[in-house]
């Protein structure tokens, strides 16, 4: 018995040792400006301003490094710590000066010139220079860990740099505080990509091999030029920011910000934290399920949910080109067959799986967006019409249509089952295939499917971007029949990408949507909107900041703590 007691004692002691081993030694001392959630100002102690508490979640995890702002779309930290040359306000669809005070574009939208702001300092006190801008643009292109910015492929010298024959982009030049970017083809929307490109410090990252940039020590506590500086970092639990009092622009209103990790608990834990006051604002993809947020907000008057219009459309893309197994379905080359399948797939029913978070869409543009073609009729499920089209086209009912998908969640499985049932009503046999493993090879090389259920990325700045998938040089090579599609789409897409006139772009976007409605190369299904959730009793958020996704104008000077 004594031995057992001794054993338990030893176990308890070893726990003490373990607790001592917990990663606390390398934690920097807490800043005087940081307060614990329980901390209250007293008569003896100086008043501590209430911090803004936000969720912290990154795609790569939060164990040892911050994610590059080129990739982090899940937390507000990139927009607090870093600046772009220009700021894009998605709600107003306007560009504002930021690190560049002014910019000019030549008549054919191929040469962009930016005059940089003088006197801007990095958080470590070093001056911001044109080298920072040039290096950051190169980072977007040459760093293999980055997905690349839209339209950067049009920068002069892009191909040579990508192939490794040179490490300089010929089209990016700096002279004094003026940066010039030359493109190989007209692209008016390039400015918006520049608005999304955060500028990183050349003096800290400039000498590192591109492949190693994102894993450099710099990312343990990155510095920027933004309205907030990172103060204390405790991976993987939290980090704090303090207001940058030397900020070039209007200073932020809230002095202290705490980012608390909800990487592990996810959506439900984050929303629960908003209710209990442990978090004031749960951002972006942290709240992925509107129904969860709705259930909670209905019982908590202080908690508000904002649906943020998104531009990533999910839909179906036909494969008429190539299958590694050689089983290409000739019938899908007939427009009538594709239209019939579009009539069988019930977009409204699919969107309803997401409890109001998804919007069914007859085009690949968000129905709430300015470039959405309101003339396109909603395609309702019509089995009889579909069957007639199939019969007229001489469709072979004995064949099995393979639909591939790669979202391995229950809702996606349910959607596939719904499609199987819908198509069966017209006598069409559908076989859903969940792609798992080497997705790049399965999607782009093997292509053993007839329809691919996938996301097509648009953006607030580029709402009809998904239609680029129908160009003759699409990355979706499996679509086949490139000549036919190219004849329809290529000119329009080139004009759309080049145009800087929003009315003209809208007109072209309408034509693109009408074209796909007529020829049905892809079947749009729905847009899955993001939502954010916050405690209105604790924090006041500027109006419209979160109405549209993709904004970089967060107006930190208008955020206020209410308690």
């Amino acid at each position: 018995m004594k031995k057992i007691i001794a054993l338990l004692m030893a176990l308890a002691m070893s726990l003490g040792v373990l607790a001592g081993c917990a990663n606390t030694a390398d934690t920097p001392e807490s800043s005087a400006t940081t307060s614990t959630p329980e901390e209250q100002p007293t008569a003896e102690s100086p008043k501590v301003e209430t911090p803004l508490k936000l969720t912290w979640q990154q795609g790569i995890g939060i164990d040892t490094l911050f994610e590059s702002p080129h990739k982090d779309s899940q937390s507000l930290y990139p927009d607090m710590v870093f600046d772009s040359m220009i700021t894009y306000d998605a709600a107003e669809d306007k560009l504002y000066p930021a690190l560049a005070t002014e910019w000019t574009v030549n008549d054919d939208y191929t040469v962009y010139t930016f005059t940089l702001r003088e006197g801007v300092l990095w958080h470590d006190g070093e001056p911001f220079t044109a080298d920072d801008v040039v290096w950051s643009i190169h980072d977007c292109v040459l760093n293999p860990n980055n997905g690349g910015m839209q339209f950067f492929q049009y920068i002069k010298g892009y191909d040579a740099a990508k192939e490794g024959t040179t490490d300089k982009l010929e089209g990016v030049r700096a002279e004094g505080n003026v940066v010039t970017i030359e493109l190989t083809q007209p692209t008016a929307r390039f400015l918006y990509s520049i608005g999304m490109t955060k500028i990183l410090p050349y003096h800290l990252l400039g000498n590192i091999a591109w492949a190693d940039v994102d894993s450099n020590e710099y990312w343990t506590k990155p510095i920027g030029t933004g309205a907030y500086k990172i103060d204390e970092v405790k991976f993987p639990d939290y980090f704090t920011c303090v207001r940058n009092d030397e900020y070039w622009g209007e200073p932020a209103c809230i002095k202290n910000v705490q980012f608390i990790s909800y990487q592990t608990g996810g959506s439900d834990a984050a929303v629960a934290a908003v209710i209990t006051g442990n978090v004031d604002f749960a951002t972006r993809q942290v709240v992925v399920d509107k129904s969860v947020a709705d259930n909670i907000t209905s019982q908590n008057a202080d908690v508000k949910t904002i649906i943020m219009n998104d531009f990533v459309t999910r839909g179906f893309f036909f494969n008429t080109g190539v299958r590694a197994d050689g089983n290409v379905k000739e019938d899908l080359k007939k427009k009538e067959v594709r239209e019939a399948l579009a009539l069988l797939i019930d977009e409204d029913a699919i969107a309803s799986f997401y409890n109001g978070q998804a919007t069914a869409s007859p085009t690949f543009v968000n129905p709430n967006a300015t470039e959405y073609n309101t003339d396109i009729p909603t395609v309702s499920k019509d089995v009889n019409a579909a069957k007639k089209l199939l019969d007229d086209a001489g469709f072979d009912y004995s064949q099995v249509i393979d639909i591939a998908y790669y979202y391995n969640d229950q809702t996606s499985h349910d959607i596939m089952q719904l499609i199987v049932q819908d198509c069966a009503e017209a006598g069409v046999t559908v076989n859903p295939i969940l792609l798992e493993g080497d997705l790049a090879a399965l999607i782009y090389t093997d292509c053993n499917y007839d329809l691919l259920y996938a996301a097509a990325n648009g953006a607030a700045t580029d709402q009809a971007k998904p239609y680029n998938q129908f160009a003759s040089n699409t990355s979706y090579t499996f679509m086949g029949m490139s000549e036919e599609r190219g004849a329809l789409f290529d000119d329009l897409l080139n004009k759309y990408n080049a145009s800087g006139d929003s009315e003209e772009r809208k007109e072209i976007a309408w034509q693109l949507q009408a074209l796909n409605y007529e020829y049905c190369w892809g079947i749009p299904a729905y847009i899955l909107n993001n939502c954010v959730c916050y405690n209105t009793a604790n924090v006041q958020v500027p109006e419209n900041v979160f109405s549209v996704g993709g904004t970089t104008n967060f107006r930190w000077n208008e955020w206020k703590m209410l308690k």
Binding site: L18, A19, K234, T264, G266, A269, A272, D438
Partner: protein, 319 residues
């Protein structure tokens, strides 16, 4: 006893080597381009061949598998666990930020479960077929049959959202990572973790105790005129512990590796969710290290069981 301990520890080495070979070759030799498993397909598709080669070279994916194995094992022995292929983060630092907290949680859960399980099991056996026995049995049935997350969510609703006694999640308050500050954050996860193990402990202790109470030496003790208390505590209780301790100690790796549910419910960042995230992301270096860590813990737990058994029952170490 020292010889016995040394023998058991030395026997760990070949076992660990075999495990490392199995883990490495099972995961490293998956079909397909290893690079495409480590980065998103869209990004992979956008990379030029030159960039793909650069990434493969920087990740050491171009070397033959045996060379990679020897390098991997050598690095581990030197304390270098490598870098995550999907995030570029140092795996050693990732483990350092998570493993101690998970083990801490598991140990507290184990201690709480051991104390409660043995105590209530003992009571149930001593007061067999009484209301105490029925209550303990009912508790153990509930604890075993209901999933952990039900208890976890219930504790959050009761103790966090309603009573505001403990935080609903996280590991520590912002700005204070001291041991004392972390205690309130551990209470609910530990209670949840201990529930099912306590329930199993109650059942094992009860049946083991009843089995021992029927043995001849217990009858002899009683015939010698010893008090019932002495018979229960000195003679029966000690001998009933061997199977119970085996059960408890063998649950250590399960507590560590199987803590994903608890970690998710309580937003408690630990090794379980790290392994799961790495698996879904195809992050082979992280998966290999977490599987190895789990295997090492299992082996250590198994050795600990042998040592505990030998400590309780001297016959074992004399065999």
């Amino acid at each position: 006893m020292l010889k016995y301990v040394l023998r058991k520890l030395l026997a760990l080495i070949p076992k660990l080597l075999v495990i490392s070979i199995v883990v490495f070759f099972a995961l490293e030799l998956l079909p397909g381009d290893a690079l495409s498993r480590t980065i998103p397909p869209d990004q992979y598709h956008e990379l030029s061949e030159n960039q793909k080669n650069e990434l493969r070279e920087s990740m050491g994916l171009n070397d033959p598998a045996p060379v990679r194995y020897i390098r991997w094992l050598g690095n581990i022995l030197h304390g270098d666990f490598g870098y995550s292929s999907s995030t570029g983060q140092n795996i050693g630092k990732m483990l350092a930020g998570r493993l101690p907290y998970t083990i801490e949680l598991a140990c507290y859960g184990l201690i709480l479960a051991a104390i409660m399980g043995i105590f209530f099991g003992f009571l149930a056996a001593v007061f067999k077929n009484t209301i105490i026995d029925y209550l303990c049995t009912a508790f153990s049935v509930l604890g075993i049959s209901l999933p952990e997350f039900i208890f976890g969510i219930s504790w959050i609703i009761i103790f966090s959202l309603t009573l505001h006694w403990f935080p609903s999640g996280g590991r520590m308050p912002v700005g204070d990572s001291s041991y004392l500050a972390r205690i309130p954050y551990m209470v609910l996860p530990v209670m949840t973790m201990a529930i099912s193990l306590t329930a199993a402990g109650v059942r094992y202790t009860r049946s083991s105790m009843l089995d021992v109470l029927g043995k001849d030496y217990v009858k002899t003790a009683r015939s010698k005129g010893l008090s019932e208390f002495k018979v229960y505590v000195k003679h029966a209780f000690r001998n009933c512990l061997t199977p119970v301790m085996t059960l408890l100690v063998m649950r250590i790796p399960m507590l560590v590796g199987g803590s994903v549910v608890i970690e998710t419910v309580f937003n408690y960042t630990g090794i379980g969710t790290m392994a799961m995230t790495a698996l879904t992301a195809g992050d082979i270096p992280v998966v290999m290290i977490t599987v190895m860590a789990s295997a090492v813990l299992t082996l250590l737990a198994s050795t600990l069981v042998d040592l505990v058994t030998a400590l309780i029952d001297p016959r074992v170490r004399f065999e």
